[in-house]
């Protein structure tokens, strides 16, 4: 990212439901263990990404994940956990 673009990034009105592409590599904080599905979930805005793998102790951690599939209409996706990067702040 150039120095100039660092000043301009984010000059837009962002949706509450961001979309993703299959194959995309993303970094997210793991939000919770979904009680209904028993799967880990990362909530990005109002978009929910369900993990196909990973264990409960990474809730709150920042992880590297790959988007396996994404439903634009439902704002739901499935991701696979690749690597745990760090714990969340505090």
């Amino acid at each position: 990212m150039s120095m100039f673009s660092k000043f301009l990034t984010g000059m837009s009105f962002r949706s509450t439901t961001p979309t993703f592409e299959a194959g995309e590599e993303i970094e997210v904080y793991v939000t919770e263990l979904d009680e209904e599905s028993g799967e880990l979930v990362a909530q990005v805005g109002e978009t929910r990404l369900h993990f196909e793998n990973g264990e409960a102790d990474i809730v709150g951690c920042r992880v590297l994940a790959t988007v396996e599939s994404f439903d634009n209409a439902e704002h739901r996706g499935r991701v696979s956990h690749r690597k745990t990067l760090s714990q969340g702040s505090f």
Partner: protein, 517 residues
């Protein structure tokens, strides 16, 4: 866990540290809030009710609060005591401490080099009249604070110099004081060497250079609106008619070469935004500032660092010939200069942040932090827009109660982090929400630390100038509607939270941007 290896051999267990022991409290997990709760109460009484802006007083409050909290802990108090140690050694506290020390040295060196004198010269050269003087003061105070990083310092320097000069030119006193405080808000919010900027970045896992660049858009929008408001109000609000000349006051304090420190300031900003470590960025700025001071005769080397060698010392015979030493009576021995004073100025705040982080750690291990967080997420921050609005209003509320804004920022920072991470709000955005509202509110309300420091300076003016009467001193209760940049900055963030302007998610920027300071 399928894969916890970070690729360089770092396991998540190493990142998180050893397993921690929970603390149980009489009365349940909510009672772990007692240390932080007592401290907040102390801060409200000390700064809000009594109007005492003494950071060391808050240190005493936090110490008392930690002792009071211990009486509610069940079982062996050793666990409680160890938690204080664990909290104080957290990286977030250490990072802020290091950045503050560097920022303090830089800030004091710029002031020693006549930075404010350069801005006085610029104001004189611009030759603006009373109507436009508040707008000009806002711009210059904003520049000054962006350079030195402390809005409190700007409130003092500008209240002492620009305020009487503006009165003589016919500017409205209330509007002028509001413009000074607005400039302090701007710099406190944007400067990479600002204590609040540093806290906002390190508590949200963001690098300081990236934080400064990402908040530029909000700051500029609010500043343009504030500038227009000062131009309009300056023409609409009458000043006082005093038959004295402002010129003399300007000439006495004018130092055109002081403007060279705009370059020192830019060195820090550009180096930090380019991605260099903040310690490196400020070090380069400090070196440039010292060179300018010496080469352009802005301040001698002894203003940067001076050893006051006692005459009883064995080195007294030759130490006096050094440019950074002088021989003094034994009782006056010591070290001084901008490097010394700049770092020492942060000592009370450093101790305070260590103790507040310790109190937060007790609240985390006692379950109180989680209880508050659960309540907020279930009842208030139930969507990303509501979460951001909660972050904006929550930060503003805490800052309106704890008027030493850095202390308020440290207290609310963990909630901004947790609520923001719940919705994967980008660390830059979280840091920006945290700092903008901390900076703004600290200079608006009559009991705010920045307002009180400026007011104290104004109270000294009748003793300095024969023509300056006590009726010209602006009371803090008069000025709050006129701190335009503070109000606009708060408004920009409230609208941003409600509309999604500037919102970024953690998925929008790769971690390489946010993993270093």
């Amino acid at each position: 866990m399928s894969d916890t290896d970070s690729g360089d051999g770092t396991e998540i267990e190493e990142i998180s540290g050893p397993d921690v022991e929970a603390i149980e409290f009489y009365g349940g997990r909510w009672m772990s809030v007692v240390p932080i709760g007592v401290f907040i109460l102390w801060a409200i009484v000390q700064s809000g009710l009594f109007g005492i802006g003494d950071t060391t007083g808050l240190v005493a409050g936090m110490l008392v609060a930690l002792i009071v909290g211990m009486f509610f802990a069940k079982g062996d108090w050793k666990n409680y005591a160890n938690t204080i140690f664990d909290g104080m050694t957290k990286r977030v506290a250490a990072t802020a401490v290091v950045a503050w020390l560097w920022a303090g040295m830089f800030s004091n060196t710029l002031q020693a080099g006549g930075f404010v004198g350069g801005l006085v010269w610029a104001a004189n050269a611009a030759d603006v009249g009373g109507a436009l003087f508040p707008a000009a003061t806002f711009i210059l105070a904003a520049l000054f604070t962006t350079g030195i990083g402390t809005g409190y310092g700007a409130a003092v320097a500008f209240s002492a110099l620009f305020f009487p000069a503006g009165i003589l030119l016919g500017a409205n006193p209330v509007l002028l004081f509001g413009a000074i405080l607005s400039g302090a808000v701007f710099g406190d919010n944007l400067a990479p060497v600002s204590d609040t900027t540093i806290v906002s970045a390190v508590t949200q896992d963001a690098d300081i250079g990236g934080v400064v660049a990402s908040r530029f858009k909000y700051a500029v929008i609010a500043a343009v609106l504030a500038l227009a408001a000062y131009v309009f109000a300056g023409n609409a609000m009458a000043g006082l008619d005093i038959s004295q000349q402002a010129q003399d006051l300007f000439v006495q304090n004018s130092e055109p070469a002081g403007l060279l420190h705009l370059i020192s300031m830019l060195v820090v900003i550009v180096t930090a935004v380019m991605g260099r470590h903040i310690v490196e960025a400020i070090s380069w700025g400090l070196i440039v500032a010292v060179v300018f001071n010496v080469v352009f005769d802005l301040a001698p080397l002894s203003d940067v660092l001076l050893f006051k060698v006692p005459e009883t010392s064995a080195a007294a015979s030759w130490a006096g010939s050094l440019p950074i030493a002088e021989v003094v009576a034994a009782e006056n021995a010591g070290v001084t200069g901008s490097i010394y004073n700049g770092a020492a100025g942060f000592f009370p705040l450093i101790v305070l942040v260590l103790l507040i982080v310790a109190g937060s750690e007790i609240m985390i291990r006692g379950g109180g932090f989680e209880a508050i967080q659960e309540w907020l997420l279930e009842n208030v921050a139930t969507g990303v827009r509501k979460a951001e609005t909660t972050m904006v209003v929550g930060t503003a509320l805490v800052n309106s109660m704890i008027t030493i804004n850095t202390a308020a920022e440290i207290a609310i920072a963990p909630y901004i982090a947790r609520i923001g991470q719940r919705y994967n709000i980008n660390s830059y955005r979280r840091a920006n929400i945290l700092d903008a509202n901390t900076s703004a509110l600290g200079y608006i309300f009559p009991w705010g630390g920045g307002v009180l420091i400026g007011f104290a300076t104004l109270q000294g003016l009748p003793g300095q100038y024969e023509w300056f009467t006590s009726a010209m001193v602006v009371n803090p209760v008069q000025v709050w509607p006129y701190v335009f940049h503070g109000w606009f900055l708060f408004g920009v963030f409230l609208l941003s939270a409600l509309t999604g302007f500037g919102l970024e998610y953690t998925t929008d920027r790769k971690s390489k941007d946010v993993t270093r300071l």
